[in-house]
């Protein structure tokens, strides 16, 4: 296992993102040598994926209805740090609807709910680490962080690899979105390269013509899957 790369991940305390002020340990993290417990984890599989989980356009819609918003597909690969695909990685995704509203009791934003969209998805990577899901482009939304703060369009990702040490939670942004450079949460990232790594690229080669635009987002988990060949 490789160490967590702190040139890539945001530190706990980022004063520009107000919520971090009271939720950031100050004592410094204690270095821990991994044991078997951190190098293994649960095994998820197709039994954990519902038939419609990777189709957010339909999975909460009434029969014959669809979610409202620009139709997109998001695809990519989950990789280890050597660039090898991670098969059977479980991705949990959630997002706001096209108007920037979450289907959540605590979201009081003005924009309306879409009765045919829940914003929940789940997908398992294939043998090459590939994944794909269909959804609608989420809207930007405001959040309480000073007089005027907005989130760029984004999709939340929770990722399980093969070990506790690889557990990842992140957000995917969209290429060309002018809101990215104004967002206090994006600004917690330690470098422009880190922001770039979370920015999905428009990928016309994978569009479904006359149907949906494609965006590509690769995810790199820490570490490397051992093989019997390695010395």
């Amino acid at each position: 296992m490789t160490p967590l790369d702190w040139t890539r991940h945001p530190p706990a305390l980022t004063p520009g993102y107000f919520s971090s002020l009271t939720r950031s340990p100050r004592e410094g993290l204690i270095p821990l040598d991994p044991t078997e417990a951190e190098l293994t984890g649960p095994v998820f599989g197709t039994q954990d994926i519902g038939e419609m989980d990777a189709d957010l356009i339909h999975n909460a819609a009434s029969p014959d209805a669809m979610a409202i918003g620009p139709r997109i597909l998001v695809h990519g690969r989950v990789l280890d740090e050597t660039g090898r695909g991670v098969p059977d990685a479980l991705l949990e995704i959630w997002q706001a609807n096209a108007g920037g509203r979450y289907r959540h009791a605590r979201d009081g934003y003005l924009a309306p709910l879409d009765p045919d969209f829940s914003g929940f998805g789940r997908v398992l990577t294939d043998e090459d680490g590939g994944y794909r899901f269909d959804t609608v482009m989420p809207g930007a939304y405001p959040f309480p962080n000073g007089p005027n703060a907005w989130r760029p369009a984004h999709i939340h990702f929770s990722v399980f690899g093969w070990a506790f040490a690889q557990r990842l939670v992140t957000q995917m942004y969209f290429e060309g979105d002018p809101m990215i450079r104004h967002c206090p949460i994006v600004a917690t990232l330690p470098s422009a390269e880190a922001v770039d790594a979370l920015t999905a690229r428009y990928d016309p080669d994978h569009d479904r013509p006359m149907d949906a635009r494609a965006f590509r987002f690769d995810i790199v988990l820490r570490g490397r899957r051992a093989t019997p060949m390695e010395t």
């Binding site: 706990a12 919520s19 204690i30 078997e36 989980d53 959630w94 939340h156 880190a194 790594a197």
Partner: protein, 163 residues
């Protein structure tokens, strides 16, 4: 190691993580390893001792079991688990709005030889207690987690061979 691809950065899970991680249907379930059934519970507090009501905690059992719980309106979490046979602890993983990179800690069982666990050697003795659960009733272990302030919980940075 021939590292060619840099790690994908973390971002906060935000306040609405329940949509993706605690969906109303289709709950993720993993079998627990065999062992004495136990309950783990506690409250997550922020640096001002206010309960954290929008967190998610995952328990990673040393024998590959896994369960998760969202905190409730009082910041309380509760997990059904089994007692590990191979380690004096379970790993805990915590996310919430305001947590930029997930926090990793452990719950040690008070009725074990936790003092001799190798991790303790790296932790100032005054902070050991933040990791050791108390046993209120048989099989029910309580650990409160403090993200900051007085008696801040010990959080770990998992290392690896840097080769």
């Amino acid at each position: 190691m021939n590292v060619s691809r840099p790690q994908t950065p973390s971002q906060t899970a935000g306040p609405f993580l329940h949509i993706g991680m605690i969906p109303s249907t289709n709950t993720l379930i993993q079998p627990l390893p065999p062992g004495e059934p136990i309950t783990l519970h506690g409250t997550i507090f922020d640096a001002e001792a206010a309960p954290v009501t929008d967190a998610l905690i995952e328990m990673w059992h040393p024998e590959a079991g896994w369960v998760r719980s969202a905190t409730d309106g009082e910041g309380a979490w509760q997990l059904a688990a089994t007692r590990p046979a191979t380690a004096p602890f379970v790993n805990l993983w915590i996310i919430a709005r305001g947590i930029n990179t997930p926090l990793q800690t452990r719950l040690y069982f008070p009725d074990t030889d936790w003092q001799s666990d190798p991790a303790m050697a790296h932790i100032p003795e005054a902070r050991h207690a933040t990791l050791v659960a108390s046993q209120a009733t048989t099989g029910a272990y309580r650990l409160d987690i403090r993200l900051g302030g007085e008696a801040e919980t010990v959080f770990f940075d998992l290392k690896g061979e840097d080769t």
